[in-house]
Structures are given as C-alpha cells and as structure tokens.
C-alpha cells in the first residue's frame, strides 16, 4: 500500500512534468497561469530551473502591495518553477528522488545511503530553493567541503575499516585470490564501455569509462572517490548505480552462478578453516598498508584510511576510538555523504543518455565480476585438482559485503543442505573489498594521480 502511494507521488510528478513539457513546447500560456507568466517575465524563464530569485528582486522591496506581493510570491513558487521552461526536468528529478526513497525504505536497497541521496535529490531540484547553490546552499556546502575534496569517502572508509573483520580471510588466505579475480568486473567493464561507445550517442572518455568501471568493485565509497576525481558530473548516477546493484546482488548473482557451475561443482565441500590468532588480526592492516606503500601508493588514501580504522579496532586497547569510528564517525559521514551525492543529481547532469549507459554498464560490471570470480575458481580447480574450491565462493569476491557471501552460502545449501560455505565466502568477500581498492588504485596510478 505504501508502495502505491510512493509510486503515485512519483508518477504524478512525472505526469505533471509531462504536462510541463507539453506546455513549454506549445509555448502557450493558459489563462489560469497568466499572472504567473507575467511575473515570470521578470524572472528570466530561461534560467536553469533550480535558481534563486534574481538579485533585483532582493533590492526592490520598496513597493510591496498585496497585488505585487502575491504576484512575486506566486512567481517564486515551485509550481511556477515547474511550469517554467525546463521546469518539468526538475519535477522529473524530484520524482527520481521519491523513487530512491521508495527503493531504500520499502525495498530495503541500502537505505543508509539511498535515503540521504534521495532526499538530497529532491531538495536540490526544487526551483528557487537554492539548496545546491554557492556559496551557502546546504547541499552545495556539503558537496564542496565534503565530497569534492574526497574527505567524506575517506572518512566512511575509516568507519568501514573499524567495522570489518578479516578473521575469515586470515583463516583461509587462498580465498583472497578470488577477491582479485572478481576485479574482472572492473576491468572487463572498461572494454564494455568501449563497446558501448560504438553505439551512436555514447562517447564516454577514457576517464569517464574508468569511473564507471569502478562500479564493478561493488564498493560505494571507492566508486564515489574515483568518480569525484575523474568524472564529477557522473557522480550521482555512478553512486546510485553502485548502491542499487549492491542491494540487488541477491537477484543479479544466482542465475549467473547457476549457469556457470555444474551440480557436482556446487556440492564441493571445503576443508575446515584454520584457527586465527588475535595477533594476526592486529598485524593484518599493517601488512596491507605496507604493501600498498611499497607497490601502489595511489591506493593509499583509501587503503590507509581503511587500515587505520581496522587497526584501531583490532589493536584491542582503543575501544573508545573504535566505537566512535564504528558509530558516530561512520553515521555522520554517511548522512552527509548521501546528501552531498544527491547534490549531483540535478536534471542537467542526470537526464542524459549517459545515465542510461551507466545503469546498463553497472549491471554488466556486477555480472562480469560474478562470472570472473566463479570461472577463476573453476580454473584453480583445474590447476590444483586436490583440495578443490567450490566455485560458488568465487562470486563473493565482488565484495558487496555481506550480501554476496550470503548468496554463495545459500546456493551451496540448495545443492547440499549440509554444505556451509559462509566462512569461506566471507573470506573471499573481504578480500574483494581490498581487491576493489587495489583496482581503483591501479586506475588512479595509470592516470598519474
């Protein structure tokens, strides 16, 4: 029922938007909107939809009468804004915002991110509200001081680090290789973008292609980080695609996994994991930093933040800081990160063929990552036939923690109700998190960042 209301609002808005298109196309003004239109004459209807009143309006308070007051206020209502030229685009974007709220709350698609992004999308697209405008619009400030400088993605990474447990990976280090193989989701997509460029209307640059490909890493903050450096104008679409497909992992992965494996492979049981000493967990983030410093410094901002959070958690003597990172720091950064991403969801940036392409390519990226992980597991079984890997675990290498690991476990139980793959899959899962940061780092390194 709530679904119906949500969708009614969204569709209603799209409908009114459609009316707006018709009316602007016909370039006619109905008598009912005559007064508004007159007022709009002074409001320069050609200005982009989401603009404040012009400066002139601010100065001329000398002569407010009831009539001019009503006219002036009416001219700056959202209704007037939506009926102005290009106003229907704002309305369309607002309905996108409502759809994101619907997906987050009703469909439970990563609501922590999609709700703030959806609200940001609504707020930034209201004409005359100026919430995305320099210098003091709330969303503008959040974007400018939190995202353009890559601050919030890094802070979210500190929080993710403090929430991550690398125990399953340490218990089963071989699984890490699957987290690398799944990065084919990133790099294969790069070729996919080039293929799409063959279609008329698509012409992504190499940098844009890379920003899109990182969606295949199945890691929201990494996608936002790379996009804010390589293609800020695509940030909104990329973030929405990344978080949406992460939530859709339980739908996207199973058919691919079933198609690429045999019943016998799905029944493979894996040997027990080894015990892990707490000291290993403490040292692990230091190894990651060290390795990153030695061979891939471009990934260090992301990986170092991640390792910092994880080390504070695993050090065992910094509970105060660790809890603050896991809760307050993480939640505050998430709220503002979402609102700031919403800022990039304006009509002129989102309503383009490019966005359609990104939504398609994001699906390709997740599929390639899943396939890459599964097929590489199968290849490993060919090369090292004793002690085989259940290829269902391969798909968990895309990260999308912990959904992908649960999917692996679920399909394993379907094949054999006594085969628990969860711990092994979680190992591949957290390795995938590191893998996608490495993949992003390689891309940054190649472009000299």
């Amino acid at each position: 029922m709530i679904k119906k209301i949500f969708l009614t609002i969204a569709l209603g808005l799209i409908f009114v938007g459609g009316l707006g298109v018709v009316s602007t196309m016909a370039e006619t003004t109905t008598p009912a909107t005559q007064v508004i239109a007159q007022a709009q004459a002074s409001v320069q209807t050609t200005a982009p939809a989401a603009t404040k009143a012009p400066e002139s309006a601010k100065a001329s308070v000398d002569d407010i009468s009831i009539k001019t007051g009503i006219v002036s206020i009416a001219a700056h209502t959202g209704v007037a804004g939506f009926l102005a030229k290009d106003g229907w685009k704002s309305l369309f974007m607002i309905s996108i915002g409502f759809i994101l709220l619907y997906l987050g709350v009703v469909k439970d698609f990563e609501p922590m991110l999609l709700v703030p992004i959806g609200f940001g999308t609504i707020l930034v697209n209201v004409p005359f509200a100026g919430m995305g405008e320099a210098p003091h619009g709330l969303l503008y400030m959040i974007f400018e001081h939190g995202i353009r400088n890559e601050l919030l993605p890094l802070i979210v990474f500190i929080g993710i680090g403090a929430l991550s447990d690398f125990g399953p990976l340490l218990a089963n280090p071989r699984m890490a290789i699957l987290g690398a193989a799944a990065q084919f989701g990133v790099f294969g997509t790069l070729l996919g973008v080039m293929a799409l460029n063959l279609l008329p209307g698509f012409a992504y640059t190499l940098k844009e292609a890379c920003a899109i490909a990182v969606i295949g890493g199945a890691d929201g903050p990494t996608s936002i980080y790379v996009a804010s450096l390589f293609a800020p104008h695509l940030l909104g679409s990329i973030a929405v695609a990344a978080y949406s497909y992460m939530a859709l992992v339980p739908l996207i992965q199973p058919p691919i996994m079933r198609a690429l494996t045999t019943e016998a492979e799905r029944k493979i049981k894996m040997k027990q994991v080894r015990p892990v000493h707490p000291m290993e967990k403490t040292l692990f983030p230091l190894f990651v930093v060290l390795l990153c410093a030695l061979i891939l410094p471009s990934a260090l901002p992301l990986m170092g933040s991640f390792a910092f959070g994880n080390f504070v958690k695993e050090s065992g003597c910094l509970d105060r800081l660790s809890k603050t990172m896991q809760n307050e720091l993480m939640n505050l950064a998430t709220i503002f990160l979402g609102l700031g991403v919403g800022m990039q969801m304006s009509a002129d940036k989102f309503m383009s063929l490019e966005t359609m392409g990104i939504l398609f390519l994001g699906l390709v990226a997740f599929s390639l990552g899943t396939a890459g992980g599964v097929l590489f597991a199968k290849a490993m079984n060919v090369v090292w036939p004793k002690n085989p890997i259940n290829p269902l675990i391969g798909s968990a290498g895309v990260s999308a923690f912990p959904m992908a690991a649960r999917v692996s476990n679920k399909l394993g139980l379907e094949a054999d109700p006594h085969n628990f793959l969860l711990m092994h899959a979680l190992g591949a899962n957290v390795a995938g998190q590191i893998g996608s940061v490495v993949a992003a780092g390689v891309i940054l390194a190649i472009f000299g960042y």
Binding site: G167, P168, L169, L170, A171, P173, R174, A176, I177, G179, A180, A181, Q183, F184, V186, F187, G188, L190, L191, V193, M194, N197, L198, L206, A209, C210, V273, R274, P275, V276, H277, P278, M279, E280, K281, L283, F284, F287, V288, L290, L291, C292, I295, L296, R406, N409, K410, L413, F420, L422, M423, L426, A431, I434, G435, V438, A439, V442, I443, I446
Partner: protein, 78 residues
C-alpha cells in the same frame, strides 16, 4: 584519438590492472602465511584453548561457530 586507440588503451589498462591486483593479493597472501608461521606456536595454543570446554578467553573460534550458527538460523528463517 580514434575509437581503436581508446579500445587498445582500455585493454592495456585491463591487463595492467588485473596483473597488479593479482600481484597485490598474492603478496598479501604470502605475508599472511609468513606471519601465521611465525605466530604458529601461539596459534596452536589458541586452538587448544578454544577446544577446551570453558572457552573463557573469547577467542575468535567461538565467534566463527557463532557466525555459522547465526548464518544457518538466518537462512532457515527466510
């Protein structure tokens, strides 16, 4: 820059990228295994302690069992 140029570059990036990702992760696995060997004496003790019925030290063995149990429960309740 022609499409072919771009495509070639994307291929190059793919090769470099997959290579470096594997190199990184493989190095990490080696580091993990070295540290596990160095710490093996302690790990065995931990394993013994975890195997003991009391399990008072709250080692992560217990956590693993709990995680599996939780996962099973979640699965069956879906």
């Amino acid at each position: 820059m022609t499409w072919m140029d771009n495509f070639m570059q994307a291929t190059v990036i793919m090769c470099l990228g997959m290579g470096l990702v594997f190199l990184f992760v493989a190095s990490l696995v080696v580091l993990i295994q070295i540290s596990a060997r160095v710490l093996s004496k302690y790990i065995e003790e931990a394993a013994v302690a975890a195997a003991a019925p009391s399990a008072a030290s709250g080692g992560n063995q217990g956590a693993i069992v709990a995680a599996i149990a939780a996962a099973m429960k979640q699965h069956s309740s879906k």
